[in-house]
Symmetry: C2
Subunit: 315 residues, 2 copies
């Protein structure tokens, strides 16, 4: 029986594995694919200490770090079909039929960004279509871009991109916003932001890269807005199925609810990274890593205290 089962092969999972190995906890880390959301980042500019690094290269470094502890860390690429509570811990059922037992769990399965489902979206993903304004705005200096969505993340995304871009179209299918009205007004009042309301994206068009967004109804006479980039900010889908099956509570946005120790509502079950409510829902390499460290520390404290101590690290 492993000390800890980490599910998810992204920044949060690998960091948790580094910490658990350094605590000499026997660690099993598993996920359907390596590298998580980090794999999709062509250019990472905000992993501190690395001015420029490719996402897959950074994730390779995280993985190699986690695997540098010899027998302490077992790494497996596999789909976890289900989890059950067993005496003294938990049992993972892998798709192969194999089972793996552990005393504690760290859920680090991340989330996926909601897609529009518009023609051209997949084709131009990474070629002008992006799902993270904080990560990618900086690459659109003096360019014209569209931001899609009507919630806080879209309004925040438009504000972020407007800091660097020449011109921003905020395209929203309704006329009213879920985001805070005061903030919506502030963004709308910016000279370089144009609101394109009651319009759907019919298609994302381009050649090598994105060249425009085709609308379902013309806007100021134009059926296609010429843009260099499209930021799709319509929310995230955290991978919470396994957590829910164990009875872990979700927060109001549908993420795994964790406390400051990254403990879920189920004893012995912790979370880290984009799947959780941690770090103010700000999903970044740096926040995932920080949460992975805290979760592993909490697992250590939990095991040492025989399950009495839900992870409160004391300064």
């Amino acid at each position: 029986m492993y000390d800890v089962l980490i599910i998810g092969l992204g920044a949060a999972g690998y960091t948790a594995a580094v910490y658990s190995a350094r605590y000499k906890l026997s660690t099993f880390i598993v996920g359907a694919e390596e590298g998580g959301m980090g794999m999709t980042a062509a250019e990472v500019g905000n992993w501190p200490g690395d001015i420029d690094v490719r996402g897959p290269d950074l994730m390779e470094r995280f993985k190699n770090h986690a695997l540098s502890f010899g027998d302490l860390v077992t790494h497996k690429i596999a789909w976890v079909k289900s989890i059950e509570k067993i005496d003294g811990g938990f049992r993972l059922h892998l798709e192969s039929g194999d089972t793996v037992d552990g005393k504690t769990i760290i859920f680090a399965m991340g989330s996926s960004k909601r897609h529009l489902g518009a023609p051209g979206e997949e084709e131009f993903s990474g070629k002008g279509v992006t799902y993270c304004a904080t990560c990618d705005a900086f690459f659109y200096r003096n360019k014209t871009v569209a931001v899609i969505g009507g919630g806080d993340s879209a309004v925040e995304g438009a504000a972020i991109v407007a800091q660097v871009a020449k011109q921003v179209y905020l395209i929203h299918r309704r006329s009213d916003f879920r985001a805070e009205p005061y903030w919506v007004d502030r963004v709308q009042s910016r000279d370089n932001v144009t609101f394109v309301l009651e319009r759907n994206v019919a298609e994302i068009v381009g050649n090598e890269r994105v060249t425009g967004v085709k609308l379902d109804k013309p806007f100021e006479g134009q059926e296609t807005l010429a843009v260099d980039g499209v930021f799709i900010e319509i929310g995230s889908l955290p991978s919470t199925e396994l957590g829910k099956s164990l009875g872990c509570a979700l927060d109001s946005k549908g993420f795994l609810q964790v406390d400051g120790a990254m403990a879920t509502t189920v004893p012995g079950v912790f979370g880290a990274g984009d799947v959780t409510s941690g770090s103010n829902h700000f999903a970044q390499f740096a926040t995932a890593a920080g949460e992975g460290a805290v979760a592993a520390n909490s697992v250590f404290n939990y095991l040492q205290s025989g399950g009495k101590h839900e992870g409160g690290h004391m300064a």
Copy 2:
């Protein structure tokens, strides 16, 4: 007037500067010395993605990253004597007499570890004397070490070190512990942990490196315990003076109280890193970086919303 004033030149401050620069916020970052607590780490094994890096080298990378944004980031090494609230923001008074104004603040001044004040402590700092069990336990495989203290951090420290060391002495000046009794019992029951109670450390002795801890009263006939390392875990002193002067509330342990958005209790004032109550008080490079990212995102949201939005990033 700068958009944001970041006080502290460690992992949290530099990461916040990377993020604020990427949001195109004009950023002033200042501190009495470069690199913060990171400078004291001879060997860093838990910065994810870098299996082994020297603390000063890692901090140099953080700094260079923050300074890679040209005019957006102004970096100054100076002592901040005081801060005052001014119309629309805050004014820093530097020791030179210069003042610097900004709309928002991120406190990232870190904390210092409490020292014993015992002879030999400073001399052998980094040569067997350490203040972070999580960071350094791994370097004491199959060695004999002393852990000093009686609170949770000492008991946790002893448990962490006992995972890797051959023999651990937990030296505490009293017979009772502030740490949770259940956990104290668990640690005491370990074969390789010996409790040395009602003893003070009279001196830390050694040659090139630590060789022993001299007690004020003999323990089992020995005046000096032969050890290879001494982990001093008697608490942290967060640098909260400037925060307190602005009216920021502290948590029960004396750290700057922050919410999930890393907002302090004073509007426009945020915190990141070891000085705050964030990340469950788990003070690591990874947690400091994660908090720096969140704090900068919250500053951005605060400024964009004209101060109405205290930083809640929406997933």
